[in-house]
Amino acid sequence: MINSLYIAWRYLVFNKVRSATLIACITLIAFLPMALQLILEESQQLLQSRANSTPLLLGARGSALDLVMNSLYFDDEVPEIISMQAADEITDTGLAYVIPLYIRFQARNKPIVGTSIDYFDFRNLQIAQGRMLAVLGESVIGAGVAEEYGLAPGDSIVSSPDTLFDLAGAYPLKMTVAGILERSHTPDDQAVFVDLKTAWVIEGLGHGHEDLSRTRDSSVILNRSEDSVTANAKLFQYTEITEENMEGFHFHGDASIYPLTALLAIPDDAKAATLLRGRYLENQQYHIVRPTEVIQGLMENIFRIKRVIDAVIAIVGLATVLAIALVFSLSVRLRQRELTTIFKLGCSRMTAVKLIAAEIVIIVLAAGIICAGLLYIVDANVETLVRMFILN
């Protein structure tokens, strides 16, 4: 068999293009369904474990999937906005404690998660370097963000404008990195966490500027009365919160109507969860969802689609196998003269079969090795791929 393999190897090397094409076809047909399975299994595990660890989620009535994807996996599809009033309402029931979430902005393409300190305890996130959020304008970043951008405590990260052409929008905010979280292998690794108030500053609801009552530049004053001073656009607004200007930062309006994207509701027990869900069944403004159920529905749909893809791949695979069989049968015809010669020299007709079999073995083996290599790469980067193809 060694000699047959050697002759087959020489033949395959001499006919490089043909061999490479066959290997590529077999590799793809084997790799695609296995890679898909790998990605889907990982995504199911990733989605399900996160969903299972999140009891209830309250948001504006609308797409439950958008709400879960944004709140749990920081998807950039922002659900309908709710207000802080919703948090007060749940707290008043005494059935659960809530963790507010405002996930709308980004910094260097990473989601900015505006939340409270409770979030870190709830998700069991530990600080690996630096310290926890302490003052307005600070951020704590996930291990993935720190690694990707080479950030360390003391560095800063700037929020991206909401939209490129939003001329009336808020200025980007330069935030100090106070700490870096330990890797958790969850979407938290890829997020920039800020205090809710800092998120509202990015929104433009809170801002800092020079004291108008003390300014010497009269050209910034649009109108001055006994009660108030109105400035024009020339007024300098701070783009970074520092110890020096922190006192100049303030919020306007009623805090109870400040925006949130969702509330994580952690009920005291199963009974409290049931009661809480019952209360919101008929609510026209909000709905409470169980992330586990939403993700289960999503996975069922994904696997339904996968079954269709599997069927398509099976048909394409069959067509490929037939095409490869045709290539080999044509190859035998083309090599008829060679086979006649070796028969005349004294080899059996079985040798011809052995030579073809050896070629198939080498091609399948090469395809298998490449396929295994590709699957290894997919496996090593499966989390990134899941984020790329499933979560986004």
Binding site: R10, V13, G346
Partner: protein, 222 residues
């Protein structure tokens, strides 16, 4: 070395019929076989090699009746006792010269590819003046070089008989003489017999004997 007695052969289809009452080739003898196309010259080589079997009569090669062997036995006998040289060389385009010379050793269990065999292949190729072209593919060789490689392949298993089927048919006059010289030299040095089918009557004086096939032919084209 070759003894044929009362041989009768015909193909299942067609009117061709070969009848050889008696023919022999002695050890070390160099015999040319001539005759018009279709007279059965190649058929004779096939019968001696055991590729075809006669309906009647016997073909003895090196004292053994070839047709009495099984199919596998005939193949083993062929690869160990006979060396074929073809008109179109029949070198494999995907193997280099050395691999082509060693090819018989890789397609049968009857021959064992050893270090000595590899060294012999190199020595043979040096003797046939293609030692510097062992890594080249057949497509990179001249016609003369291809036939030298084919002769090396035929001689390597040290066969008792060389069967050459128009071995010089595709060569220019200068190469014809040179290839025949090399073939004769190597056949003599190995103590083998040579049975060469040829259309080239200019080369006939160089053979020990000439067999004209016209005397055996009784049917149409082979």
């Amino acid at each position: 070395m070759i003894e044929i007695e009362a041989l009768e052969f015909h193909y299942p289809q067609g009117e061709f019929h070969l009848s050889i009452p008696r023919m022999s080739v002695a050890q070390g003898e160099k015999v040319a076989v001539i005759g018009p196309s279709g007279s059965g010259k190649t058929t004779l080589l096939n019968l001696i090699a055991g590729i075809s079997c006669p309906q009647q009569g016997t073909v003895k090669v090196a004292g053994q009746t070839v047709s009495s062997f099984s199919d596998a036995g005939r193949r083993d006998f062929r690869i160990t006792n006979l060396g074929f040289v073809f008109q179109d060389f029949e070198l494999l385009d995907y193997l280099n010269v050395l691999d082509n010379i060693l090819h018989p050793y890789r397609i049968t269990r009857a021959l064992k590819l050893t270090q000595q065999v590899q060294q012999r292949a190199i020595d043979l190729s040096n003797g046939l003046e293609i030692g510097d072209k062992l890594k080249r593919f057949s497509g990179e060789l001249s016609q003369g070089e291809k036939q030298r490689a084919a002769i090396c392949r035929a001689l390597l298993p040290q066969p008792r008989i060389i069967l050459a089927d128009e071995a010089t048919g595709n060569l220019d006059p200068r190469n014809k003489g040179r290839i025949l010289d090399l073939l004769f030299e190597n056949v003599e040095s190995h103590g083998a017999s040579l049975l060469a089918v040829t259309h080239d009557h200019e080369l006939l004086p160089r053979f020990d004997r000439v067999i004209d096939f016209l005397e055996f032919r009784t049917g149409a084209a082979a």
